[in-house]
């Protein structure tokens, strides 16, 4: 990737942006109001995302993608609308898009791509083309949720700055690729290996901007389930989701799932760039998630795995249901890979809970469907809640665990419906 080219484009984008702002009329109030409904979370029985976020949202289709909820254009951050979560697999065209740096790579030709593997704790330096990866290593397929660490950040009260995601900075796909551990083993991993460091082809807009580089503990990188994937739901990865190859770290938040993977380095020392040492960090001890022991050199710690969560997709806040017809509570549940043990549903604001029926088990890292039909015999308002519990006994929280960067929102929904 020619970095100077990317920087040049970025500067021209800026010029076009400045020039166009005056030339184009602002959206009419009516279209603003309509746009204001996009990606709202109050309708899901959750806290509402900021007013400014709602007003700024529009539906927009990036090349090759379906119209998604635009959060920001540059770098592109686009959220998946809720209707795509009514099935357990998220279609490629609707899968959310998240980049940190404006230097998003131009579409890469598969034939021209190669992955560089090395580092001071690697047995040597090697390059692998896509064809070599496919030919020389065992192909593996697994279904896993990719969820942005900051999914639902917009729901934080008080609000915290960042990309103000609603519920759709996540998706579930069948990923096909090769095991990272097989590739690393071929090159060799030395005894002193501490972390494995990943860089993608995206580039900073300025020399001074820290490049987006992430690392994993070596034992995680060498686990069975971490893949270098090139296919998603039976198709090559979309450009916006990492074509030609991306890292799959099942159970871990999306920040580690490096797109357009360019280099993998096995290191004897911790990676301390901004994106590891400062960003994507949590106050220590607030969440029951695994620690990242080589990154504990400050009062906080890196985010690691996802917390158990669920999303009701069948009901809207304020919905009216005819008496005698059941309240159909359906949705998805997921966790960090222990698997979903149960999803319980309440229709009386949490006084009583009943177990929902779980859908087909697509693997421990996958979305799991749930459904419960609750009869209605009397008129009146009902508060519907759904609460997922993992096989390790972790469950969703009643109250938000606030943290400065807005991660790990897994507060139980409270959807008000009226039986009439």
């Amino acid at each position: 990737m020619d970095k100077s080219y990317v920087r040049g484009v970025t500067r021209r984008h800026f010029m076009a942006g400045v020039a166009g702002a005056g030339a184009l009329a602002a959206l009419s109030p009516a279209s603003r109001a309509l746009a204001g409904q996009l990606g709202g979370t109050g309708v899901l029985g959750l806290a509402e995302i900021p007013d400014g976020t709602l007003a700024e949202a529009v539906m927009y289709a990036l090349p090759g993608k379906a119209p998604l909820i635009k959060k920001t254009y540059r770098p592109p951050n686009f959220e998946t609308p809720i209707e795509y979560f009514r099935t357990p697999i998220t279609p490629n065209k609707a899968f959310f898009v998240r980049y940190h740096l404006a230097g998003v790579p131009q579409p890469i030709k598969a034939a021209g791509w190669s992955l560089a593997v090395g580092g001071d704790a690697a047995g040597g330096e090697a390059k692998f083309t896509l064809a070599q990866l496919k030919k020389d290593f065992k192909l593996v397929e697994l279904t896993a949720v990719c969820q942005c660490s900051g999914n639902r950040r917009g729901l934080f009260e008080p609000h915290v700055p960042g990309v103000e995601w609603g519920v759709g900075a996540m998706g579930n796909a069948v990923w096909r690729g090769v095991r990272l551990k097989d590739v690393l083993s071929k090159v060799g991993v030395k005894a002193g290996a501490l972390e494995v460091i990943f860089n993608g082809a995206d580039t900073p807009p300025l020399e001074k901007t820290p490049d987006f580089v992430k690392s994993l503990p070596v034992d995680v990188a060498m686990s069975e389930d971490v893949l270098i994937a090139f296919d998603m739901n039976g198709q090559p990865l979309p450009h916006w989701n990492g074509f030609p190859a991306r890292l799959i770290v099942p159970g871990w938040t999306g920040t580690y799932w490096i797109k357009q993977l360019a280099s993998v380095r096995v290191s004897t020392t911790p990676e301390k760039n901004f994106w590891m040492s400062t960003a994507y960090r949590l106050p220590r001890g607030k969440f029951n998630t695994p620690t990242f022991s080589s990154q504990l050199y400050s009062p906080n710690e890196p985010i690691t795995t996802m917390v158990v969560n669920s999303l009701v997709t069948s009901l809207r806040n304020g919905e009216r249901i005819q008496r005698g017809k059941p309240i159909e509570v359906r949705g998805l549940a997921w966790d960090r890979g222990n698997g979903i043990a149960k999803v319980e549903v309440s229709t009386d604001a949490g006084a009583h809970w009943a177990a929902a029926k779980l859908g087909k088990d697509l693997g421990r890292y996958s979305f799991r469907e749930f459904a419960l039909s609750v009869p209605t015999r009397e008129d009146g308002g009902r508060v519907v809640m759904a609460r997922a519990t993992s096989k390790s006994g972790e469950t969703q929280v009643e109250q938000l665990i606030h943290n400065p960067a807005g991660y790990h929102h897994n507060v139980i929904q409270r959807i008000y419906v009226e039986v009439v």
Partner: protein, 95 residues
């Protein structure tokens, strides 16, 4: 210059980058300085993050952009930018 801009705009038509020119910040003192934010990211980052930060919050954000991300903004402009952002995209009632 106008021709150059028109050519660039045409080249970008249909892309997300051309869409971002539809993002329009509120008019007011300091807007020209706040437009510098567009050198690294689309300006929709600003309204997206509204209205919940007070001036101290917008000052911290602007300083982060300079100190961490290397934004090419003069330190002497920070106060005017934070004033503008607090005025138009800040927490209502906070100063």
């Amino acid at each position: 210059m106008r021709i150059v801009i028109a050519v660039i705009a045409a080249a970008l038509a249909g892309s997300a980058a051309s869409q971002e020119s539809k993002v329009r910040l509120a008019d007011g003192p300091g807007k020209d300085k706040a437009m510098q934010c567009g050198s690294c990211h689309s300006l929709d980052y600003i309204p997206m993050n509204s209205r919940f930060l007070d001036k101290a919050g917008w000052t911290a954000t602007t300083n982060k952009m300079i100190n961490v991300f290397g934004a090419p903004i003069q330190k002497s402009d920070v106060d005017a930018i934070a004033d503008y952002l607090a005025q138009h995209y800040g927490k209502p009632g906070a100063k």
